[in-house]
């Protein structure tokens, strides 16, 4: 649980963050999004006191962060950044074990934890434990970065554009992995990005910042449907909004139960997004799709009319 209450940060005469209030609930993934220089990174770095706030209060689980020693506070939070910040002179295993070592865990416990995390992030122990960061691909390095952030099992995870430097394919697969991790671990995550697609994919709670202020915050669908002003609307993609919304809605929301008609030839999983369904229809020139469950058994059907039809806020 993180609360920012009327927080301001000034650098000399300039105000980087201007009187923002924000509350991130336990287990929520909060994404701060905005153009560069909007104060989103500054906001993130104020939470672990890499930057001190000038005014206002920041609370972690109801306690002011200034009541902790800086180091103690930071060791309670995971921290992952775009450049990964892996120590080039340490092996992968040693990098991951950093915070547990700072917390003076016994060696056997650190070893066990490192193994657990590497398994969690899909990094095989034999192949990667002894490698140095420069021997890793961008995606592998970022996985190690996330593993390191999770090492001491912190409740809070701060992520500053962690996937920003990766190619689109690696980025998407890591985004999916993060969602899956989050579904299992229920961390409280503050995630900074300038990529709106990434923000929409990941966010439980989306915060749009502009010139040091929060211009709108809420659930991604709420923002898509009712942007507060032109800036938010343009950030959300203007004419692409329909597709962005479709990307957030699962097929299961719009499908109809199986009818008496013959099953359509093209199939789509019920967890797929409406955007994927639309793309498949366009590609296959199909007006109807058969919706299947995880075992590839038909559970319903989706027509083009139904897909684009009146919104159902079921």
């Amino acid at each position: 649980m993180i609360d920012l209450i009327h927080v301001t940060r000034r650098f000399g005469a300039a105000t980087a963050v201007d009187d923002i209030s924000l509350s991130v609930a336990q287990g929520e993934l909060c994404v701060l999004v905005g153009t560069s220089g909007c104060g989103k990174s500054t906001t993130l770095r104020m939470i672990n006191r890499l930057i001190e706030h000038s005014e206002g209060e920041i609370h972690i689980d109801g306690q002011q962060i200034r009541r902790f020693r800086e180091e103690t506070l930071r060791r309670r939070m995971g921290y992952a950044i775009q450049s990964t910040g892996l120590f080039p002179h340490w092996t992968v295993a040693r990098n991951i074990g950093l915070v547990p070592r700072l917390l003076k865990w016994p060696a056997t416990r650190i070893q066990a934890r490192v193994e657990e995390l590497m398994a969690l992030l899909g990094l095989s122990m034999e192949a990667f434990a002894g490698k140095y960061p420069h021997q890793l691909s961008g995606g592998q390095a970022q996985r190690v970065g996330v593993a390191r952030a999770l090492a001491a099992d912190p409740d809070i995870l701060l992520m500053d554009e962690p996937f920003g430097a990766l190619d689109p394919i690696t980025r998407e697969s890591l985004q999916d992995e993060l969602r899956e991790l989050q579904a299992r671990l229920h961390k409280t995550i503050v995630f900074v990005t300038h990529d709106m697609d990434e923000a929409l994919r990941l966010a439980d709670h989306l915060v749009v910042m502009h010139q040091g202020r929060i211009v709108q915050q809420g659930r991604p669908l709420e923002l898509l449907r009712e942007p507060a002003d032109d800036f938010v609307e343009s950030l959300l993609g203007g004419e692409d909004r329909g597709l962005k919304e479709a990307a957030l809605l699962p097929v299961s929301q719009r499908m109809l139960p199986l009818g008496p008609r013959l099953l359509a030839r093209e199939r789509i999983g019920q967890r797929a997004s409406l955007r994927e369904a639309l793309s498949l229809m366009l590609w296959r020139h199909a007006e109807r799709l058969t919706v299947v469950d995880d075992d590839d058994l038909p559970v319903g059907e989706l027509s083009l009319r139904r897909l684009v039809g009146a919104r159902s806020d079921d």
Partner: protein, 386 residues
């Protein structure tokens, strides 16, 4: 030319042909009737006749031939040849000594031809070591046959060699001079390392210190060394006359105290600059992550910044040490001892071989330190990272 055959190795080709020209065209030895008179130069064919001289050029022609089609096994052959030729140089001196020297006072000098050939052959050796991907250690081992050959020849036939005579006349003095030299360099580099690291850390903390510090060190660096010794003379003499405990420590206007002060002064700039740059150059993302993970300032410095800066800091130590080895020679002027003593004595007596007795070991020491610290830098490079 077959497609899998690489083109000629131009470096080796040039080196062998230039070396051959130097060998045949320059004096290889000189002979003087005694220590004072200047010697007469002898070229190869003066010693063994034209036929013999042409015969000695065969190894170089063979080397050039091997360089023309440099397949790997030919390069290995060329390296063997270079090592053998290096080992043959002392033998050549021995042959000249036996042929030319006819009196007990006569002295044999090493001619320009030998020095040039020695230098070029060493370059050829380095080139071949690189081409064949041999390790540094093997590179050093390759010099051993030549050293062994030189030792053997010195013991058996090279008694008239002027350099050798100068050495035998003062072998005890020579060893203590090497010791003094190393002591001065060691203390100066050690002190400037300790001071330099502290100063670099202070500069990173306070920008004011940085500006003032670099300004002062830059000015210090521009003062010529002899002038600096002169400048230190008066204040140190005054101090030793007026402060008893300094006098008891052996501080005076001349001798080791001003030498060390000046050496430390000159060593500080390269040391501080390298250390400062090394500490600054550590990736900001790594430092950000280290702090964000909850490392304290001290932990960031000790566990992250210093280890990552270490190769560049070592580079600074290497440059400083090599520079100090050379500068210490000048310190002999103010009575600090060391190998420079021979150089200035030799200059005073117009005895060039005595100058060489001081200069050659300084050169060797510098090369040795350079190689050792270079190897250490390689070892300390983390995880083989660039």
């Amino acid at each position: 030319m077959r497609p899998d055959m690489p083109g000629p190795n131009v470096v080796l080709l040039t080196l062998s042909l230039v070396a051959l020209a130097a060998w045949l065209g320059l004096d290889t030895v000189s002979l003087a009737a005694n220590r004072i008179v200047p010697g007469t130069g002898y070229r190869v064919f003066d010693v063994i006749g034209v036929g013999g001289a042409l015969a000695t050029s065969l190894p170089w022609l063979a080397l050039a031939g091997l360089a023309w089609r440099p397949a790997r096994h030919r390069l290995a052959l060329a390296l063997t040849l270079v090592v053998l030729m290096l080992s043959a140089l002392p033998a050549w001196l021995s042959l000249s000594a036996v042929t030319l020297v006819d009196s007990a006072q006569a002295r044999l000098g090493i001619g320009a031809g030998i020095w040039v050939v020695l230098f070029l052959q060493l370059l050829a050796m380095i080139e071949l070591r690189r081409r064949l991907d041999l390790s540094r250690l093997i590179g050093w081992a390759l010099v051993l046959p030549a050293v062994a050959s030189a030792g053997l020849c010195l013991a058996r036939w090279l008694e008239p060699l002027a350099l050798w005579q100068e050495y035998r006349g003062r072998s005890g003095q020579f060893l203590s001079a090497v010791g003094e030299h190393l002591l001065l360099v060691g203390v100066a580099v050690g002190t400037s390392l300790a001071l330099g690291v502290c100063l670099a850390l202070a500069m990173r903390r306070w920008p004011g210190v940085q500006r003032a510090g670099f300004g002062l060190l830059n000015v210090l660096q521009t003062i010529p060394s002899i002038a600096l010794f002169g400048l230190l003379l008066a204040p140190l003499a005054w101090l030793s006359a007026n402060v008893d405990w300094l006098a008891a420590l052996g501080v005076s206007g001349i001798g080791r105290a001003p030498a060390l002060l000046a050496l430390v002064g000159y060593s500080l700039l390269p040391m501080v600059r390298n250390t400062f740059v090394a500490l600054e150059a550590v990736d900001a993302g790594v430092i950000d992550a280290a702090r964000g993970m909850g490392m304290s300032r001290g932990q960031v410095l000790r566990q992250v910044r210093l280890p990552l800066a270490m190769p560049v800091i070592l580079e600074g130590i290497r440059i400083t040490t090599v520079q100090a080895i050379g500068l210490t020679a000048v310190a002999a002027l103010i009575g600090a001892g060391g190998l420079g003593t021979f150089i200035f004595q030799g200059l005073g007596q117009a005895a060039m071989d005595l100058v060489l007795l001081g200069a050659l070991p300084i050169l060797l020491l510098a090369l040795l330190v350079d190689a050792l610290l270079g190897a250490l830098t390689d070892i300390l490079r983390p995880g083989g990272a660039e």
